[in-house]
Symmetry: C2
Subunit: 387 residues, 2 copies
Amino acid sequence: MSPAKIDQLYPSRTRRGVTPATRFATLIGDYGTSDFVMKRGGRLPEVTIAYESWGSLSPNYDNAILIFTGLSPTAHAASNAENPEPGWWEFMIGPGKAIDTDRFYVICVNSLGGCFGSTGPESINPATGKSYGTDFPEVTIEDMAKAGHHLLHELGIDHLHAVVGPSMGGMTALAYALQYPDECDYLISISAATRALPFTIAMRSLQREIIRCDPNWKEGHYHSDEEPLSGMLLARKLGLVSYRAAEEWHQRFDRARVTKERRQGKPFEIEFEVESYLDYNANKFVGNFDANSYLYMSRAMDWFDVADHGGSVNAGLAKIHVNKALIIGVTTDILFPIEQQQEIAEGLIKAGRNVEFVSIDSINGHDAFLVDREHFSPVIADFFSQS
Amino acid sequence: MSPAKIDQLYPSRTRRGVTPATRFATLIGDYGTSDFVMKRGGRLPEVTIAYESWGSLSPNYDNAILIFTGLSPTAHAASNAENPEPGWWEFMIGPGKAIDTDRFYVICVNSLGGCFGSTGPESINPATGKSYGTDFPEVTIEDMAKAGHHLLHELGIDHLHAVVGPSMGGMTALAYALQYPDECDYLISISAATRALPFTIAMRSLQREIIRCDPNWKEGHYHSDEEPLSGMLLARKLGLVSYRAAEEWHQRFDRARVTKERRQGKPFEIEFEVESYLDYNANKFVGNFDANSYLYMSRAMDWFDVADHGGSVNAGLAKIHVNKALIIGVTTDILFPIEQQQEIAEGLIKAGRNVEFVSIDSINGHDAFLVDREHFSPVIADFFSQS
């Protein structure tokens, strides 16, 4: 796909997260049919999926690993020649690393519905010439998995060595293995869920409502220079609260105050370091992420339910036919708690699958896979060394 | 104090939570001095404290129990002749109940800074004739305790049988016992803390920021008919998320959906029962609570630190000289976790106090004291039967 074509599809401001390393595949319809048909009935005349890759595809196309991301990251999972910036999983992917690019051809996609190069609410609706906004069809985790599958089809890869994903990406990896059971040898699901618990739904629903209450949201039809930034800032802060564990913050910040120089004397301003941490990190995110993408992907996680595939969670999990699955959870995760990882592992074992279940005792909560190299790298390296 | 006087102090809309059962005491200055001087330097020329009472004061004034509330409730802790509506602690207070009004004279106060009859940001600033708003001086938990102490002074009570409080009220009870060590025989602290943890600060800070981001907040100088209701609604929802435990919602709602009749077809509207629960309960609160009071009291909880009283938490706790303390916590409380209750108990034991520590294995999280009669009533009844 030529850069010119990309410019037509995305107005300049929407090429967030796109670098010289980003590749694009345009998927027209369902393997040759006219539209990309979505789980809840929506249709897209054209789908572009942005991705990055590392390593080389083997002559017989049998060494591909597909990675789905959580809600926030781009497809830039690791540095590469075209983009030497560290990726969001830099410690995990590379030559000699746990996901070894000397051995595997690794692909990471920006999910359908996202805003980092793949088709999403910010993309131009060919029918109107404007961004879809909330006219974008309802996206599900299954659609994200299907778009990843389409991408592989375009690349000529009809079988994966492994599908891998953390958080939302773990749900997508489950959906992938479920929908294409004979096209994948190994599965790694990290801090995911077969379906969200009500506490998690509440946390996400509240983030969505905060964004929707921003007067700039305008029912999803905001202009690019007037995005609902204050809603996004607050929603991201709430997200961050749910991604980390109370004990980590206790050890890290306790009740430390920001220095007087960093205060402006306004009523109810930031005073504790933990508030400053949230503000700093949320501000890094806001302006780089489309609010409607956030809404669509957040809701997709609430909707996802393995039980939709066969009537019960275990019936759904039984559709997964990988040689072996690695299911990882973190004991301090409040968003996708360890019991939910156990549920995935037990369901797969019940269905006769070969499963390795690893409960990681990390202080980093749901975000552990992003930061706790020490715990995560050996587990994944070990899994692939036996694959 | 005459009703006419109250009308002068509070514009009609601000008499929230005030019923025929509400009594008022006007406290002029610090026991006869000119102003009510606050911990962080602020001064109030006049303080009114709203309270309710149950039972009869004994001839020698030795049977009084003072109850401080959490952030949200009024002084109407239980029904009485003037207001037969059930109170927020109806199962706990009454003839023959755990806090037995046949034996005790029970007083519950609306905290200083609140909006249910006591002086707070919504009260009229005598200097301007308008509500204080954010010109109200900074309120601390210690000031709330002091205002309660002033009230007892006005009532001629110089010694308490017990001071009791859950949540913010537990912090206030600790502050009371700390500041007036020889004026109180027993202490009951429920789901409180010697000082807030960063996770708890983050949750509260975010609620405050949500309110402040409501365009109607106007730096705290909003008009009575244009309050920041949408910010309050969202903040309350976030509060509710932190007051309950994930497992309770899992058992209660799981992934149940609201019926189609209750949906309006708007994008991203309520779909899961847990969202509907939050919406229903938050809406009951909003409009009945002053946004600035919420901000002031929420911040007071973040500021509270027993270590301010002697240099360390244990030095502070050692100032408490009650005959016996009952420290209650709930295993599923994520806001004031059980470890914090243990810290209070251990600090008091270290100081040589007689302490009963009760860890309640309730599914109701921080709110358990409001709803889990079965676990709470016997523990408190037993404590008082030995007092």
